[in-house]
């Protein structure tokens, strides 16, 4: 067991015992991953922030069901993705507020230049991800937004590693198709 894994196990055990500080350390460690995954799912940094925070609350209340010794990140990110999905659904039902009055911490840094694909801005790419179905968004979010390994992604999705590969391949193909619809010249790499 690596030091980091041991440390995580210790934090989880302490958090399970009601130690809020220990849980706070886990929140801090995975907050960036959480808002990135939630942004990929919701398509909005504002909704993502709410979803990530709500997910952390739900995870804390569900610590008793966490399997001792298991990796924390896939378990947390799965909860984040589910909560982001719920948030997206409710967001679509309500009138979305253009401006939010309270402070937000989650931001998207402006891009000074075009990204790796000619003609596709970060906003357009995020929108294209947002048009995918939840299964596709989830696997892309876990692999590229949280940079989770295939093994971690498999844990988060609850499927074999081989399924992660095939699911990711299909998701990427659909994403390319979405981008091609918007910008025929983009995504030509295949």
């Amino acid at each position: 067991m690596s030091d980091e894994t041991h440390d995580e196990t210790s934090l989880v055990e302490r958090a399970r015992g009601g130690d809020a500080d220990a849980y706070g350390a886990l929140v801090k460690r995975y907050s960036r991953d959480a808002v990135r995954v939630a942004t990929a799912i919701t398509g909005s940094v504002g909704d993502a922030e709410d979803a990530a925070q709500t997910a952390f609350v739900k995870a804390f209340l569900a610590l008793d069901r966490f399997r001792a010794g298991a990796p924390v990140r896939p378990w947390l990110m799965r909860i984040v993705a589910n909560e982001a999905k719920n948030s997206r659904r409710s967001s679509q039902r309500r009138e979305r507020l253009a401006e939010r009055s309270h402070e937000r911490y989650c931001v998207i840094a402006p891009s000074a230049e075009e990204g790796a694909i000619a003609g596709v801005t970060t906003t357009e790419l995020l929108r294209a991800v947002g048009r995918l179905d939840h299964r596709d968004r989830s696997v892309i979010a876990f692999r590229f937004f949280a940079e989770m390994s295939e093994a971690e992604t498999a844990l988060a999705l609850g499927c074999p590693v081989g399924t992660v590969k095939s699911r990711l391949s299909r998701a990427m193909a659909r994403l390319r198709a979405e981008l091609a619809t918007d910008l025929p010249a983009a995504g030509g790499e295949g």
């Binding site: 210790s10 055990e13 302490r14 399970r16 015992g17 009601g18 130690d19 809020a20 500080d21 220990a22 849980y23 706070g24 929140v27 801090k28 907050s31 960036r32 808002v35 990135r36 940094v45 993502a48 922030e49 990530a52 925070q53 952390f56 609350v57 804390f60 209340l61 008793d64 069901r65 966490f66 399997r67 001792a68 010794g69 298991a70 911490y105 989650c106 931001v107 998207i108 840094a109 402006p110 891009s111 990204g115 790796a116 694909i117 596709v120 991800v129 892309i140 692999r143 590229f144 937004f145 949280a146 940079e147 989770m148 390994s149 971690e152 990427m172 390319r176 981008l179 995504g187 295949g190």
Partner: protein
């Protein structure tokens, strides 16, 4: 970065996009999140307390009358610091400490199960029943709580001749187990029901009464308190005992401190005491006075 193979342009674009999504102030975000976490935890506690009070309303008057059995001799607030070196308190066969949950020999699984077994004091039963949507399976409870094998009352008494039965209004236990850690461990288990509410860690188990011989070096249970639990020294049946309130974990430490069995978490209250070479442990969501009333019904 855990993506090993070279990225194609679209994959690179996604990673680039993700890297642009950030938190302007991680500490502030964490602090705000933890406010919500604490609020959620408090809401959950209030919700549980409310349902507990509703369920026990009728029994509280009866329980109050029984409190004279138990005389509080000292109130010991266990230090809250998570770094505190263990302060071992205890009785024969059971130690209490604050601090970290002890390490486990094998990664343990969280307690999930749920509730009910047909009343059986004569023969084991593995037929599950459903109560309020939760399923109690005697074999699952025995396994998850490391209680041992399901046995009849007669079988349990053969191993522990000093075994006492509960003559309370809860009736006979729904399952009886015989374990070997420590040797001779007998556990009576009642499923959760109105008036016997399961805990978060064991939603289908309403009451556990354990008895085991505690003379000699037979190992002991190690009860580890959490930051929101406390132990109170009490006198039970003219002997030393402890009332433990709040979530805690239980591990079994073998004879000669040889090993530590996996820990089992409890989110309930416990009354423990020892007398005549036997250690008793009551785990439930019952209040202190209700637990004392149970002691009075032991025959």
């Amino acid at each position: 970065m855990t993506i090993d193979s070279p990225l194609d342009p679209l994959e690179s674009a996604l990673v680039d996009l993700a890297s642009r999504i950030d938190l302007s102030d991680v500490d502030a975000f964490t602090a705000v999140t933890m406010v919500r976490v604490r609020r959620g935890r408090d809401d959950e506690r209030r919700r549980r307390t409310f349902s507990l009070v509703r369920g026990q309303h009728g029994r509280q008057l009866l329980a109050v009358a029984a409190t004279i059995l138990l005389i509080v001799t000292a109130v010991l607030a266990i230090p809250r610091s998570r770094d505190a070196v263990a302060d071992l308190l205890g009785i024969d066969g059971l130690r209490i400490r604050s601090g970290e949950v002890p390490p486990t020999s094998v990664p343990g699984s969280p307690i999930a199960p749920s509730s009910t077994v047909p009343p059986s004091t004569v023969a084991p039963s593995s037929v599950p029943t459903v109560t309020g949507g939760a399923v109690f399976e005697a074999t699952v409870v025995g396994r998850d709580f490391r209680l041992g094998s399901e046995v009849s009352l007669a079988q349990a008494r053969t191993t522990l001749p000093a075994l006492r039965e509960l003559t309370s209004s809860y009736g006979p236990p729904d399952a009886i187990y015989l374990g070997d850690r420590p040797p001779g461990l007998v556990s009576f288990v009642w499923r959760a029901r109105p008036g016997l509410i399961g805990s978060r860690s064991a939603p289908t188990v309403g009451l556990v009464v354990q008895q085991y011989p505690s003379s000699g070096d037979m190992g002991f249970f190690l009860k580890t308190l959490t930051s929101d639990s406390r132990a109170q020294e009490v006198v039970v049946e003219n002997g030393k005992g402890y009332w433990v309130e709040g979530s805690h974990s239980i591990a079994y430490v073998g004879a000669g401190n040889a090993f530590i069995e996996d820990t089992v978490r409890w989110a309930s209250n416990a009354l423990v005491w020892a007398g005549n070479g036997v250690t008793y442990r009551i785990e439930s969501s019952l209040s202190q006075s209700e637990a004392v009333a149970l002691v009075a019904s032991l025959r």
